[in-house]
């Protein structure tokens, strides 16, 4: 089965610089319910929870914007604030210029939310009946709803599941139906909360292809705001990623830049064959008096593996290749490995003092 694509035939477009979602100094502190009463009766109470603290960023039209962070970092709170389900304590969120508190109905006309929560559907209704209900709430007439639903079911390859009860659908189809529901009113902004959670690898791949294709419709550019714990997925899909930790945005950039900013070192591993390995080692020691490297036998017979680290874009790799060339060795492969998003995430999860030490 191939992945679903939106549009069915379209030219690929890149995000532009126009902000569609603007998050401006948003803070959210969950108040203690009935605080005055609890104080009056001298009852114990937990301190207020500061879920999001002075967060600002913009999501540009047509981009896939990722938000990553550990559990409890504030991802869901932020998504729900954008979706108007929670009011911020301070700051402002606008979607297409509409304020999430003052113009909440307008914001909801421009936003579709798809989460991994299976309970958000009516289990005893069919997939089609569920979509019909939500289409009518979006104000679609009967004919409009029918046309739109059949288009979405076709595009998401859910036609065979249309008349099945929601309870009978596979997890992948349930997730697909959540995306279909979020797209019912053709919203320009799509909020996806862990869209591939509990999907098998094949279904997850199809889902990622679907998400990617959503932003590539030249006629109707969908902007995607995505939260996920799957860092490989975020790296594959997102134009930009924000890292949130303890309610604060710690970093925001393209995944490649985030990795580079975190550490500009990369580990290089070169596999080669040569007549006289001792000669190569001696030449390398001459070339790098202080630069550590390891030279060992490769997994395949007659091959050698040279491993060293270098700063991105420095001259080390060029020098090494010259040495190998002069020693009449044949380079079989070169592999380089830079910091992963996981390492970046782990870095921002460390206490501030440790981060500073590492930075220094």
């Amino acid at each position: 089965m191939s992945a679903a694509t939106f549009p069915l035939d379209s030219s690929v477009t890149a995000p532009n610089g126009k902000a569609v979602v603007s998050v401006d100094h948003i803070s959210k502190t969950y108040p203690v319910p009935f605080l005055r009463l609890k104080k009056a009766f001298k009852r114990k109470f937990k301190p207020p929870v500061e879920a999001v603290r002075d967060v600002s960023f913009e999501v540009r039209e047509g981009e896939i914007f990722g938000l990553i962070g550990p559990n409890g970092a504030g991802k869901t709170t932020l998504t729900k604030i954008i979706a108007t389900l929670i009011q911020p304590t301070a700051g402002q969120v606008t979607v297409k210029g509409f304020d999430s508190v003052q113009d909440d109905l307008d914001v909801r006309r421009h936003v579709g939310l798809a989460g991994a929560e299976e309970r958000s559907f009516y289990w005893r209704l069919t997939a089609e009946q569920n979509l019909q209900f939500f289409a009518r709430l979006h104000g679609l007439s009967g004919d409009e709803a029918t046309t739109r639903i059949s288009h979405l079911l076709r595009a998401l390859q859910l036609e065979d599941s249309a008349r099945k009860r929601f309870a009978e659908l596979s997890t992948g189809n349930k997730q697909g139906l959540a995306i279909a529901r979020a797209l019912l009113a053709n919203p320009p902004v799509l909020l996806l909360d862990e869209p591939t959670r509990s999907l098998d690898p094949l279904a997850a791949t199809r889902m990622r292809a679907t998400i990617k294709s959503l932003t590539q419709d030249a006629a109707r550019r969908v902007t995607v705001f995505l939260t996920s714990h799957n860092l490989a997925e975020v790296e594959e899909l997102c134009n930009r990623v924000a890292i949130i930790s303890q309610g604060e945005i710690r970093a925001l950039d393209a995944p490649r830049n985030l990795r580079a900013t975190h550490s500009d070192n990369e580990k290089v591993s070169i596999t080669f064959t040569v007549e006289d390995a001792m000669k190569v080692e001696a030449a390398l020691r001459d070339a790098f008096s202080s630069h550590p490297f390891t030279l060992g036998r490769g997994e395949v017979s007659n091959t050698w593996t040279l491993a060293f680290s270098r700063k991105a874009n420095d001259q080390t790799l060029d020098t090494v290749l010259r040495v190998l060339h002069n020693a009449t060795s044949i380079v079989k492969s070169i592999e380089s490995e830079r910091a992963t998003l996981l390492e970046v995430l782990e870095h921002y999860e460390q206490p501030d003092s440790q981060q500073k030490e590492k930075g220094e």
Binding site: Y30, I86, G112, R136, L137
Partner: protein, 275 residues
């Protein structure tokens, strides 16, 4: 708000609930059967009182007619003040409230529309009390049916205001519904569903009897019986009608204000979808 769009959304909820109801067909037939059994039971109980009618209680000359109108009204009343809170609680428990609230629909519309099917059902089941009485037990109703309907609707709107207060409570406190408890039990006891309210004065004194005066259901039921059982016209039922209008004038703005505060609080606390 566009009234057509509003009605379209209410219709969407009614269709949804009808489809859900269809998936539990047995429950519907059992409910119809239980009403028939109850009406039959009341018929036999009413036979005990043949020839013992107290001339003071003009609405109770045929106790079966009085009980059936009382039961039909009580069913409607209970729906009025419990279905709004139940609707929001059910969506919370099912986990569907968040997805409903992600559509461009206001919270008050969600609550009104979610309870629409309950009123459709209540109309059907309340009618069954009267129809079974007429069909199987020779109970006859007279008077202006439109006027009776006006009483029914007005009382339901007044009780729905209490239902909105109850829904506000459900939104903030999640569980426990003082309005449902006091008004549900209170209406059955004090508003004359099963016996004339004058008996409370005779046996418990004026202070206790005055409770029935502050219950809107008392006036609704009195008005309905005056029309359907005594055959009274508009001029004769002005007093209960005016009482209901006064309740409406006080309760409607109060309940809407309390409700808007509850929604704001729930959104601020982030507890709108919690239960």
């Amino acid at each position: 708000m566009n009234p057509l769009l509003f009605l379209r959304r209410i219709w969407a909820f009614v269709v949804r609930d009808w489809r859900l109801e269809l998936s539990y067909r047995m429950q519907f037939f059992l409910r119809v059967l239980s009403i028939l059994i109850l009406v039959t039971t009341f018929f036999f109980v009413s036979r005990i009182f043949v020839g013992f009618a107290d001339p003071r209680f003009t609405q109770w000359h045929d106790p079966l007619a009085a009980w059936l109108t009382g039961m039909a009204m009580l069913n409607y009343f209970m729906t009025g003040f419990s279905s709004l809170a139940n609707a929001i609680r059910q969506e919370q428990v099912q986990g569907t409230l968040e997805s409903v609230l992600m559509t461009p629909i206001s919270v008050p519309t969600v609550i009104v529309a979610s309870s629409a099917w309950d009123f459709v059902q209540a109309t059907l089941f309340s009618s069954l009390y009267l129809v079974f009485g007429w069909l199987f037990f020779n109970v006859h109703y007279m008077g202006n049916f439109l006027l009776a309907l006006a009483f029914l609707l007005l009382t339901t709107v007044v009780l729905s205001c209490l239902g909105i207060l109850s829904a506000s409570f459900a939104m903030v406190f999640k569980r426990g519904d003082p309005f449902g408890v006091f008004l549900g039990a209170g209406s059955a006891l004090f508003s004359g569903v099963f016996f004339p309210t004058q008996l409370i004065r005779d046996y418990a004194g004026g202070a206790v009897a005055s409770v029935s005066r502050v219950l809107p259901a008392t006036y609704g039921l009195d008005g309905l019986r005056r029309v359907l059982i005594e055959g009274q016209g508009f001029a004769q039922v002005r007093q209960p009608l005016i009482s209901l209008l006064i309740f409406l004038a006080v309760l409607l703005p109060l309940s809407l204000w309390v409700f808007s505060r509850a929604v704001r609080r729930a959104k601020r606390e982030g507890s709108l979808i919690q239960y």
